[in-house]
C-alpha cells in the first residue's frame, strides 16, 4: 500500500451518509438477487454451489460493522444530517460565500447546522470581530437549508437532480475537480456544474 495523498479533500457528513446509504441498498439488492438465483438453481435441480463461489457481493464483516454504525451516528437526531438535502447544502455554501469564512469553518457550519449563536461561536474564531451582527444572517441561512424549515427557492434544482440520481457518487467526486471553475462562478445563481462540496475542499496543506 502506498499513500498518494492523505488529504485529497474534505467530505461533509451528508456526503458520507448518502454514500453509505447507497452502498447499503446496493448490498441489500445484491443479497436479494443472490437468494433468488439460489432458489432458481435449486428449483432447476442444480447441485448446490461449492462454498465461497456464491459469496461475492456479500460485504465483509468489517464493512458491514462500520457502515451500520456510521449510518446510525450520522442519522442520529442530534445531528442535522438527515434533515439536509444536496441542494440545501449547495445553496448554503453559496450563501456563506460573502462572509469570508475559511473552508474548515464552512464545513463545520454545514456539518453541525448551528441554530444558536453560541453554536456558531465555537465554530467561527473571533466571531464578534469578523461578523458582528451578521451572525444572525448565517443562522437564518443555515435554518433555511434544513428541510424542516420552509424550503428555499429551488434555484439549483439541476444540481440537485444530478446529485440525487442513483449511482451518481461519481458526480459528487468529479465536482471538485472543477473547483477552480466553481470558485469563479460562486455567485452565479444558475450554479451549473457546482457540487455541494465544491467550496469545502481543502488543498493539501
Amino acid at each position: 500500500m502506498e499513500v498518494v495523498n492523505a488529504r485529497a479533500a474534505l467530505l461533509s457528513n451528508y456526503e458520507v451518509l448518502s454514500l453509505l446509504r447507497e452502498q447499503e441498498s446496493d448490498h441489500l439488492a445484491r443479497a436479494k438477487t443472490a437468494v433468488r438465483v439460489k432458489k432458481e438453481e435449486e428449483a432447476a435441480g442444480h447441485p448446490p454451489r461449492p462454498l465461497g463461489e456464491a459469496t461475492f457481493g456479500e460485504p465483509s464483516e468489517n464493512l458491514r460493522t462500520v457502515e451500520i454504525e456510521a449510518i446510525q451516528y450520522l442519522s442520529a437526531d442530534y445531528l442535522p444530517t438527515t434533515r439536509q438535502t444536496a441542494d440545501g447544502i449547495s445553496q448554503l455554501v453559496k450563501d456563506l460565500a460573502p462572509y469570508e469564512l475559511t473552508k474548515a469553518e464552512k464545513l463545520q457550519v454545514v456539518n453541525l447546522a448551528p441554530a444558536l449563536p453560541v453554536e456558531l461561536y465555537v465554530i467561527v474564531e473571533e466571531l464578534e470581530d469578523r461578523l458582528g451582527d451578521r451572525m444572525e444572517h448565517i443562522l437564518n441561512h443555515v435554518q433555511s437549508g434544513l428541510s424542516d424549515a420552509p424550503a428555499p427557492a429551488p434555484s439549483s434544482s439541476d444540481v440537485y437532480s444530478a446529485v440525487q440520481a442513483p449511482n451518481k457518487t461519481s458526480t459528487l467526486a468529479e465536482s471538485y475537480q472543477h473547483e477552480e471553475y466553481h470558485e469563479e462562478i460562486v455567485f452565479d445563481d444558475v450554479g451549473e456544474g457546482a457540487g455541494i462540496e465544491g467550496d469545502l475542499d481543502m488543498e493539501e496543506d
Binding site: R7, F56, S60, L63, V66, Y78, V122, L127, E128
Partner: protein, 224 residues
C-alpha cells in the same frame, strides 16, 4: 470529520470472481482489506469512495489470480485539530471522559480539558462542573449541594473540540531480558486516539447550552 485519501495498492482477484465486473470486484476486495481499519497517520478507513485508476490485470506465475495495480479514494474518519464534533459520553473515570461516535470510540477528554472547577464524583461515576464557583480542592467540591453541580452523565451528547490525535503502531517486539526485570508494557494502546476539549464556552453537553437563555449567551461571548 471525514476526508478523502488517495491510496495506491495492488489487489488480487480470485478466479471465481472473474465473472463480476472488474471495478466491482476491486472495490469489494479493497473494502475487505481496508474497511474499519486504522491506517497509521491517515485515520480510520470507512469504505472505498471510488477507483481513480486501475491497471490491466496480470497473471503471475504460481497462482491463478489477476493482479491489479489500483489507485483509489478512501473515505477516512480523521477530524482535524480544532474541529468541533458531536459525540456521546461512553464512560468516565478519574483520568477523564471517554466519548464515542458509534463507529469509533477512542475519543478522550483528559481532566485538564474539562471546564474549571471540575471534580470526579466516584459515587455517580461522573465528572461534574461547578459554574460560578472558585473552589479548588476536590473534597471541598464534593461537599457542595448536588443541585449546584452540572454533571456530565454517561450517554449524554456533548459538543467537543478536537485538540490532538495520536497514532500508535505498537509491535510486540522481542522480550527484553537484558533489562533484568521484565518491562511490563502498557496495556494495549488503541492505534488511533483523538484528544478533545470541552474547556471553552459553548462546549460540553449540548443540553447545557440549548437551555441557556439568549441574554446569558451574549454575556458569555464577551467573556470569551
Amino acid at each position: 470529520m471525514f476526508v478523502l485519501s488517495v491510496l495506491k495498492d495492488t489487489v488480487a482477484i480470485h478466479p471465481s470472481n472473474f465473472g463480476v465486473p472488474a471495478d466491482q470486484a476491486l472495490i469489494s476486495e479493497l473494502n475487505k482489506k481496508y474497511a474499519n481499519r486504522v491506517l497509521h497517520d491517515i485515520g480510520l478507513c470507512i469504505c472505498v469512495f471510488d477507483l481513480s485508476e486501475a491497471g490491466e490485470g496480470k497473471v503471475r506465475y504460481g497462482d491463478g489470480f489477476l493482479w491489479y495495480k489500483v489507485v483509489f479514494r478512501m473515505v477516512v474518519f480523521r477530524p482535524f485539530a480544532s474541529e468541533v464534533i458531536i459525540a456521546k459520553v461512553k464512560s468516565s473515570d478519574q483520568e477523564g471522559i471517554r466519548l464515542s461516535v458509534g463507529f469509533f470510540d477512542d475519543i478522550y477528554i483528559p481532566v485538564a480539558y474539562l471546564p474549571q472547577p471540575t471534580a470526579f464524583d466516584p459515587n455517580e461515576r461522573a465528572h461534574f462542573w461547578l459554574p460560578d464557583s472558585d473552589l479548588e480542592k476536590t473534597h471541598e467540591m464534593l461537599d457542595t449541594p448536588v443541585a449546584e453541580r452540572m454533571y456530565i452523565d454517561q450517554g449524554e451528547v456533548v459538543r467537543v473540540r478536537v485538540e490532538a490525535d495520536d497514532f500508535f503502531d505498537d509491535e510486540p517486539g522481542p522480550p527484553r531480558m537484558a533489562d533484568g526485570v521484565q518491562v511490563h508494557r502498557e496495556a494495549k494502546r488503541a492505534p488511533y486516539n483523538v484528544v478533545c476539549s470541552i474547556a471553552e464556552q459553548g462546549l460540553g453537553p449540548v443540553s447545557w447550552w440549548n437551555s441557556a437563555g439568549q441574554g446569558e449567551e451574549d454575556g458569555d461571548m464577551e467573556e470569551g
